[in-house]
Point group: C2
Chain length 408, copies 2
């Protein structure tokens, strides 16, 4: 008799975005004239860069002729892309990462989820609170989370590290031993960053404890301030304790095209085994490489022309982020993020719950946000806004909020 993975039954429903959709749909039905502005979901809206489009067209043409056809590619990604990544994302920042330490994939979500395959189920996991739910859910599925406590909104065997305005959004070192630590900088959802000194503390801790840091750098291209590492490998000692996830989704608009990569340094060894070799074995056995067409498109991001075009789009979003930050602050709100991130983490007006404030913005300003409580208990008292929308609509949203608050 076949049995299912018993851990799935422990998962609480994932209702955040469906509940947002439900409330939004109900409001829209009751108010068909409402002009809703979506600032909730972290999906991009700007087109791919022309250089990327050209490279994808050329790659599609390659597949149209037997002379230039590409069948199975390397599971780890084509060297034309891995070499471009190594040069631009690491060597150019003075970071020594080898080409074969870079594993190209169909996206960071897959890698963040699949990385657990190479780890023992007995590892103790530590995550920030609020947090990107994928880190928690994938570990719960693998049996590392213990039991879910509805009351506490957390898992019995996961170590939660609150990141709030009170501690400057910097997680404190754990007070009990943990084995695998997820850090996201710039953070989803808070939009805040960890500086070099803060990351150094974590790297030293992980090396001392033989822990592993899972470093999610999906939003690194939004960093504008000096002193904020774009890669954890800018921090001395990180290669013996950290795996880094990168994504082209927010960098270059690949949320629908699908491409990302993961760095696993050779120096990262636990139980006498190379994590690089384990991940290589996992990927060669359970993955057949990212699409040739998409890898060609991704490589074009690193051309001179492509890099300039991508930068233009990033500036578009960065400007939106600045507009939101300034608009909310002018309306009297306390906000975090935005400076190094497409996410703006806004404190709710005194005493208001995040779902209550979500409803207020929906019904009184026709703006859709994401309630912070959906990312964990410490997200209560905040909503998340994203800078990925249309520039004019973003300005309009801030005018509405200004008027809303002026009327209070």
């Amino acid at each position: 008799m076949a049995h299912v993975n018993e851990n799935y039954a422990k998962l609480p429903g994932s209702y955040l975005f469906s509940e947002i959709a439900r409330r939004t749909a109900a409001y829209a039905e009751a108010h068909p004239e409402a002009d809703l502005i979506k600032m909730g979901i972290g999906d991009v809206t700007r087109p791919l860069a022309p250089a990327v489009i050209a490279a994808m067209h050329a790659a599609v043409d390659d597949l149209a002729s037997s002379e230039t056809f590409h069948g199975y590619g390397p599971e780890q990604g084509y060297d034309f892309l891995r070499e471009a990544i190594q040069q631009a994302d690491f060597a150019a920042r003075g970071v020594d990462i080898a080409v074969d330490e870079i594993f190209v994939s169909d996206g960071a979500k897959s890698d963040c989820g699949n990385i657990g395959d190479i780890l023992s189920v007995n590892n103790k996991i530590a995550v920030c609170d609020p947090v990107y739910p994928v880190y928690v859910d994938t570990n719960a599925m693998a049996g590392r989370a213990g039991e879910y406590d509805e009351q506490a909104q957390g898992w019995s065997n996961i170590y939660y590290m609150p990141t709030t305005a009170e501690n400057g959004f910097a997680p404190e070192l754990p007070k009990e031993p943990v084995d695998v630590i997820y850090l996201c900088s710039p953070s989803n959802p808070t939009g805040t960053v960890l500086n070099a000194e803060q990351l150094k503390t974590w790297v030293d801790y992980a090396n001392q404890q033989d822990a592993i840091i899972m470093f999610d750098a999906a939003y690194e291209r939004f960093i504008t301030e000096e002193g904020v590492p774009h890669s954890i490998y800018e921090v001395p000692g990180a290669k013996t304790c950290a795996i880094e996830f990168r994504s082209f989704s927010k960098t270059a608009g690949f949320t629908g095209a699908r491409c990302g990569y993961t760095v696993v340094p050779h120096e990262l060894v636990r139980d006498g085994q190379s994590l690089h070799d384990l991940w290589n074995r996992r990927q060669t056995t359970k993955f057949n490489g990212a699409s040739y067409v998409i890898q060609r498109g991704a490589a074009a991001i690193y051309s001179e022309e492509g890099a300039a075009q991508v930068e233009e789009t990033l500036d578009y979003y960065r400007k939106n982020a600045a507009v939101i930050k300034e608009g909310l602050e002018a309306a009297g709100f306390t906000v975090f993020g935005a400076v190094n991130s497409p996410y703006i983490w806004c404190q709710t007006p005194s005493g208001m719950g995040s779902w209550e404030f979500f409803d207020k913005l929906l019904t009184e300003a026709n703006i859709i946000t994401t309630p912070g409580a959906g990312f964990g208990p410490s997200g209560e008292g905040y909503v998340r806004l994203t800078a990925f929308g249309d520039a004019e609509r973003t300005v309009l949203a801030m005018e509405r909020i200004k008027n809303l608050m002026a009327g209070e």
Copy 2:
């Protein structure tokens, strides 16, 4: 202290294709004048259908403008593709599969590997011998295989079902309880098929035992004979016991483009849980959908124009398979497969080991094959040839073999 998944250390080296490459390179270096014909690896060589190319170009153009841009798509695949699949691959054959039972992915290798996520580690696995290594290796990684026995070339906790000429390549029902059964028809590597009656025996067995059949139908488009199911769901009762994997790799040349799909029926329930819901949860948590561009290309396979073009390419490969079968038989060999498959499973001359015959074909006919022993102990005494090469070169290969055997 972080620990790694201890099961990876138990995996034997995966040396089949690297050993083939090593022997081939050594021969080529010693004989630079040799004109080698590759009939070893199962990768396609013909270009994508013009309709697929056109659809991919149009999809790339969609991503070039904000009006037609596609960001995150449904993790389960776009309805335009799922509906086309449902109609052409199931409804047209009288098989009742719902659109939401079809999960589009980046390929069957990923799905075959990842499906284990939703199953208990305590399930007992049954596989054919010889076998596509991914079924075995992924279960070994998950801890379901026990220990590897180098002498027996097998795992202590996997139930092996020999499929050889002696039993007509039809695995016998297990003599001890098993929970998850992998079946591949048309088979990789033997090229043989299970007919409707044989599959019915397995479906009845699985339903009676509450087992699950993992049915790999990646090569179904090569079936030419009547009475051979293209889908296990053509067999009554399969929807309560089977998951089916499909691939566009061999069907339509997507080995480099990457797309496939998996069917998980709503009726498939174990431990009181819907496998469909578990897989949906797995995919929404650990996957972000296949590339929009590639899904558009895959959908074009189902257009009238695309279907005709794909059929033309399949005929090209089918003709190669017939040429190989006839050529080998004319040279005095006993061969299997080919009729419903791009794979030809050729018995070695009397008493010759499969690596020995591999070497003979390499050095005396300059043809590269795959030794059957690489797919499991019961593959000893066979080599695999593939029909995915150039038509003229395939004819040339058979002439060489004819001459080789005539000279013996």
